[in-house]
Subunit: 191 residues, 4 copies
DNA sequence: GATGAATGAGCGTTCATTCAT
DNA sequence: CATGAATGAACGCTCATTCAT
């Protein structure tokens, strides 16, 4: 369908420009021209720039969750589940560096401020998998008895940092290094 | 000297506006008016906005390092030195939330992109204290044998994340919680 | 015939939107959607927006004239004929406030500028009824010997003003008030 | 003072463009270029286009009132006062046709809609002079006992209509014709 | 004939920077 | 030295019109 193709082109052009150069390098006219459409055309698919930016964010997020949960076995021990989720997360971002960079830009822009608040409060499903893990782990005395935000910090802090380093080319995250990094995170978490 | 006072006022106005609302809320005219100077005056102290923003960044960084090293004893065991540096870092940001928020804005803006690259490559002094620590720790088999960027990630990742959570009001970082968080980081690092 | 129905729908949609909210609230796409047709379809019936707007004006005008002349008796005295025409005019606008509001919008828009010139020069039929009246009245020394535009002003000026007040809800024009208002106009006209 | 000159130039450019061609012919860039200033400069004097348009309206209005009341004698009979005010009004518009045309454009645009409502309710000083006149005249049985809006219509309706005709060149309003026209209005008003 | 997706010129507005005073 | 008025390029967005289907 033509309609969907154009929408896809626009979303993709926005993704590339913003992920690669940041929001300041992505005026609507440039998004349009990279997408190969007229400037006004964008507004047939997105009410305004805010909506385009947020929609793109949601699309990315919607793609991540299923990947994390693929092969995820609820009955496994907490440690194994943590390793699984984290490995999946790292792999996803390594495969989709544009998504990672976009998310970084998004959360550090006025567009993402409101959403960041939500996320930090742990309202989203993706984090819910982690959240359940942490709650269960704390209750079962497997994980340190620290406030949830601190547990999140101990997990996502290093994971996102190494992903950034990989994406920027400072390190090469192969499976072995990912595994060792995640293992280190776990050692910080575990009681 | 009048000259320095104006410079200081300008820097401070920029700090407040950017830290509190982000770059998009800090046009030069607003910085000037909050600083109590004419719009053109800023250009007598800073060649352009880029320079102002970067200069402010450097000033903040220059203030942090001495604080981290205050009471820092080179001869202490690696663990103690890590705890010391990290405690000092957290305390510094808790006391100076404006600086923390500015740094976050800065690193996630076009202005900070070049510098981020530098930092990640570990060229700056502040990180050098940590760097020495890590190099020494790896050599002495006290710290995991992971690439330096990963070690940085395991340390700064959680520390900056909990600081953010504190600044945004999601948790309250008192000395005890800071200590436990840093301890957890250490457990991730140590062999 | 389908064709005529569509044309009617388009004209009617334009009438409603423009009369109720003004030209600025009536983009072609909105007219089309209210008319239940495609945006491009309008251009099969009207060469462009200008033509649509002008055509709508002409249709309204064409509807008014017969109403004014209904029951109009050429042989009656001038005063009675003036009262008749004016009463019919007021009643028409009271019954069709959308037409009245459209005409107001139209004459005060770029679209109507050219036509206004025409009208003021007295080239249109509707005014011709009045015009004959005035010419005859002046000749017969029944009406003041003033230039035609002044006589038009003394008649239409108050009539349109009270209609506007009625449509906007500032007064309620019942038959009695209409009659008294028209009578007052006549007293201004008569010798 | 340069500041005032620029402001004046901008106001004047807006007045000319809007009075002569209507709002549609007066984009900010054109106002700026006719005023001989940069596009951004207008915004140093007026917060936005709305404000410019409204400010211009207020300036015109503020100039009219004193002219109407010059030589106005409260103690004169109602008829004389009506003739005085109306003569002054007509003369003012004849001398300042641009003002007249601007006011017409203004009141028939979204900008003036709110103000029109106010005016029709008779809240403004200028009309207050007329209003007092009418109230007093009705009470003293000199003027027809009609609702105020109708009395306004019988006065302003013809006066504005003949002014328009003059400004557009359909008639030439000399003092004699003005006097006769106003006299005719009075005959419509008086008991 | 009818459609509505696509277009792009043109709008109002912002803001980093300059320069006459 | 310091100023702040002036600038104009660039932004996000609208809408009359076209044209492939």
């Amino acid at each position: 369908m033509i309609k969907l193709e154009k929408r896809t082109e626009i979303i993709h052009a926005a993704l590339e420009l913003i992920a690669e150069q940041g929001f300041h390098a992505a005026p609507m006219a440039m998004i349009a021209s990279r997408a190969g459409v007229g400037a006004g055309t964008i507004y047939r698919y997105f009410a305004n720039k805010d909506v385009l930016i947020t929609e793109l964010y949601r699309e990315i997020e919607a793609k991540i969750l299923p990947c994390l949960l693929e092969g995820y076995i609820e009955k496994q021990p907490i440690r194994e589940r943590f390793l699984h989720l984290s490995m999946a997360l790292l792999r996803y971002f390594i495969i989709h560096p544009l998504y990672f960079r976009y998310l970084e830009q998004f959360f550090n822009s006025p567009y993402g401020v409101a959403l960041r608040r939500e996320k930090l409060l742990g309202r989203t499903e993706k984090r819910d998998a982690y959240r359940e893990l942490f709650v269960e782990g704390v209750a079962g005395q497997v994980i340190k008895d620290l406030p949830l935000p601190v547990l999140f910090a101990l997990s996502f802090g290093p994971l996102l940092a190494v992903t950034r380093d990989h994406v920027l080319g400072f390190i090469v995250l192969d499976d072995a290094l990912m595994a060792r990094t995640i293992e280190a995170c776990w050692e910080g978490l575990k009681k």
